[in-house]
Symmetry: C2
Subunit: 316 residues, 2 copies
């Protein structure tokens, strides 16, 4: 099975590539705006091809008739799209449309797994977001995701592709450095203390809730989408809200303490950031994932398990 991953230099792209390249069943093409690395330590590195390409001009260079599936992960993230409207529109919309056009003409019917986000939702929101809540984005990133979701639906309805749109929860714990994203602390408050470093929590409310998914569970769900029957969602409604779990700041602290020891809590400081708090409070905090679960999607056991998995990954 030949799988293309766009935005393959990113965290999720690399994680998924690693999984696929440990299985002899897959041939993987990795592409990104910079030459993407082939993940180290995989069992079948010879099954990987890495291509540097700009999807805005070179979508056809990474697409060929042998493709069975495409994971579309490229994109400018939320803070970047808000800071540079034109860049966000061209990378998040135009590059995706170019990719869909190339696929439609080169490998019609190919499975496309498009990464969307819970950022498609904005106020007003009910306590628990069901699949029948209208997405009303309050960010350029969210609006661009809605446009692409609509294209994935329409290209699927017209049999140009077999699309699935996965709306990701906030991924935690992410490895790497803190970022400018408003959600950065949702990984940092675990990752930094486990590394002996300090982290500031920008909200003084231990009951503040987030909707989180571990990288491990996300990858499981990405792989599952490769095998979902094409007709498991209607031809014109391809979106699936990927399951997450609702965790409070207190709950995250408890998990840190349980896995890392009580001394780690001393590395956390709570200090309200007046610019961040309204953004954080505009996000949905709980979803009804009945549809996804019935399709076979997995949900994290507990956030403590997520932290345990993250800690183990450090020693690998």
């Amino acid at each position: 099975m030949h799988v293309l991953i766009t935005g393959a230099a990113g965290f999720i792209g690399q994680l998924l590539a690693k999984e696929l390249l440990n299985d002899p069943a897959y041939r993987v093409t990795l592409t990104d705006i910079h030459q993407p690395p082939i993940p180290a330590g995989v069992r079948y590195p010879q099954s990987a091809t890495a291509i540097k390409a700009d999807l805005l001009t070179g979508a056809r260079d990474v697409v060929n008739p042998s493709l069975d599936a495409v994971y579309a992960f490229h994109g400018i993230m939320s803070s970047g799209s808000e800071a540079n409207f034109d860049l966000g529109m061209s990378v998040n919309i135009d590059a995706t449309r170019n990719l869909l056009e190339a696929l439609r003409h080169t490998c019609p019917g190919v499975r496309v797994i498009y990464s969307s986000s819970q950022a498609v939702y904005g106020q007003p929101l009910p306590e628990i977001v069901t699949d029948s809540v209208i997405p009303t984005p309050e960010s350029s990133y969210g609006a661009e995701k809605i446009v692409c979701e609509t294209l994935v639906n329409e290209y699927t309805r017209r049999n140009f592709i077999t699309g699935f749109t996965l709306r990701f929860p906030t991924i935690s714990v992410r490895p790497g450095a803190p970022t400018a994203a408003a959600s950065s602390f949702l990984s940092g408050m675990i990752r930094e203390p486990l590394d002996g470093k300090k982290c500031v929590i920008p909200i003084e409310d231990r009951q503040f809730k987030s909707w989180l998914c571990s990288p491990k569970t996300l990858v499981e769900n990405l792989l599952l989408t490769l095998r979902l029957p094409a007709d498991s969602v209607p031809p014109h409604i391809r979106q699936i809200n990927v399951p997450g779990i609702c965790v409070t700041v207190q709950g995250m602290m408890d998990a840190l303490e349980a896995v890392g020891g009580a001394d780690k809590l001393a590395l956390l400081t709570e200090k309200e950031d007046p610019a961040l708090v309204p953004i954080l409070k505009s996000w949905p905090t709980q979803f009804d994932n009945t549809q996804a679960i019935s399709l076979g999607f997995k949900r994290d056991e507990s956030f403590e398990q997520t932290v345990r998995d993250y800690k183990e990954s450090l020693s690998q």
Copy 2:
């Protein structure tokens, strides 16, 4: 007040232009892919400028800093977008995006009244569509409308424009010749008999319901949107379902008989069209227009009044 109308050669564009050009308060620029006519018999024809332009390449040629408002009516209709996907995408999405970009840079904050359609809705639908039903289009036309609605929302949230999206009901009675649109008979079954001509109703179900709005009421609502306070809808949710009335085939026949006389009914034939019936049955038939009404939008009194108005317009 300087008003631009795109797609100005079309039926609604001409009707609105006529209204504006009877009022000395307006200066009107009409544009279309072919040189649009200046409506005959208006009081202030000298207030009109007609420009032939292709918005795909020449959006900047029709936009200038003196504009106060823009009605975006250009587009490939539903059957055309379904028949030619690429044409629909470029005219319905790309031309609109080019227009929005030109407006953003040339007259930031300008009021944009974008014509969308109840075609954004698809199955599954409840008996009565409220503003909290998710649009799930089952046509390229509807999908393209959703993309543009999303852009209008986002451009407004970012203060690039002051957008309003009006989702039109089916307009009846339209003058002119029958078209290939599935909805064509919803005007034809009144217009043709009043003109002494036959019309075939493609569904054998007198209780089949449609959601209709007269041209007269639509124009009233278009003018009202020119004066709506910018903050009458949230900055990121600019859609308004324009009020319509629910009329059955039997109700339309009754109105024809009341206005045109019983002999007109003999010109109607009911003959099921198996290709059209599923399309007709996928459309929403009733809306809850509470929001629009509270904003001051008008609703037709009765379909009989619509037919009466249409008959009067013939003798003018």
